[in-house]
């Protein structure tokens, strides 16, 4: 078995001539590298400080100019507030625009035996919100509720819409 202590104690013995030359070359190369690094400023504390300050300033600039653009492009959530309008009707106000619902989705659904456009079996990717074509800054509460309505009966062009929200119990 190899004895580690024997191996380490061999460091006190004189090296062969060729190995000594290699060590000299290695030492001179290291000195050259250190000298080059110092000249280029890589280890200069002033330069490190300058780099940190520059990075900090760059971060501030990016935050100042970039953050408003990111917030404007990506609304984090929609808060709906219901307020009465001048006619006493409930109107939904949102912090972000909601896409206009597309009533044409119901026309593509097969009518059931009672002639109703029941969209209950529609896949999730057929929701009207996904088919929005234009934005409305202040949709009414009706539009908000109709945006993803699936159970509809009657004529889509009817002048009056009743929305029932109910519990079967």
């Amino acid at each position: 078995m190899h004895n580690v202590s024997e191996s380490s104690s061999s460091g006190a013995q004189p090296l062969p001539e060729n190995e000594s030359e290699e060590l000299d070359n290695l030492a001179s190369t290291s000195q050259l590298s250190a000298s080059t690094a110092q000249k280029s400023g890589g280890t200069n504390p002033l330069n490190i400080g300058f780099a940190l300050v520059a990075t900090f300033a760059l971060g501030l600039a990016l935050g100042f100019w970039g953050r408003p653009k990111i917030i404007a492009d990506v609304p984090l959530q929609v808060v709906v507030t219901v307020v009465p309008n001048e006619n006493g009707q409930a109107v939904a106000q949102t912090t972000a625009p909601i896409t206009e619902s597309s009533d044409t989705a119901s026309e593509s659904r097969p009518a059931n035996s009672a002639g109703n456009n029941d969209q209950g079996a529609a896949p999730a990717n057929e929701t009207n919100l996904a088919q929005g074509t234009e934005t409305q800054p202040t949709p009414t509460i009706m539009e908000f509720l109709l945006a993803d309505a699936r159970h509809i009966q009657g004529d889509d062009a009817a002048p009056v819409t009743i929305i029932e929200f109910s519990d079967f119990k």
Binding site: P110, A114, A149, Q153, D156, A158, V160, I163, F165, S166
Partner: protein, 141 residues
């Protein structure tokens, strides 16, 4: 509901939309899920009418057996209905829909919006008739 359907929905004057507002516990959620399972077989409205009729007359418990019985009464495929109901695949959707309505400030059930005019609770036909007629007049019909 039947009079509203006869006089307004079937005549093209009114469009009627149902939204789940299941806030009365697990039984109401399960009933709403059952209605979605009925909708898979294009019988949502028949199931809707039958459940409310049953609640008005018998007030029976809406457990899975009763829901399946109601589904059979309107000719649904019982096995497919039970499989759908047991899967619970509509529970999250119904919870979200109910939460969205709750976020609008609605607290009681049933509730109705007639062109934005709110009606709270189960009201007689005449209440609906008056508001519908007002809205039809406003719309120039």
């Amino acid at each position: 509901m039947s009079r509203i359907r006869e006089e307004y929905i079937d005549t093209g004057k009114v469009r009627f939309v149902y939204k789940h507002f299941a806030i009365l516990g697990p039984e109401s959620s399960r009933s709403a899920e059952a209605s979605e399972c009925a909708a898979e077989q294009y019988e949502f409205w028949n199931f809707h009418d039958l459940v409310f009729s049953d609640q008005a007359t018998n007030r029976s418990s809406l457990d899975q057996t009763q829901l399946t019985s109601l589904a059979e009464q309107i000719g649904l495929d019982s096995e497919a209905f039970q499989t759908c109901l047991s899967s619970g695949k509509y529970s999250l959707q119904i919870a979200r829909e109910s939460q969205a309505i709750q976020s609008l400030g609605v607290r009681g059930t049933p509730g109705f919006l007639v062109n934005g005019v709110f009606i709270s609770g189960a009201q007689p036909f005449e209440v609906f008739e008056q508001i519908i007629e007002e809205q039809l007049t406003a719309a120039g019909d």
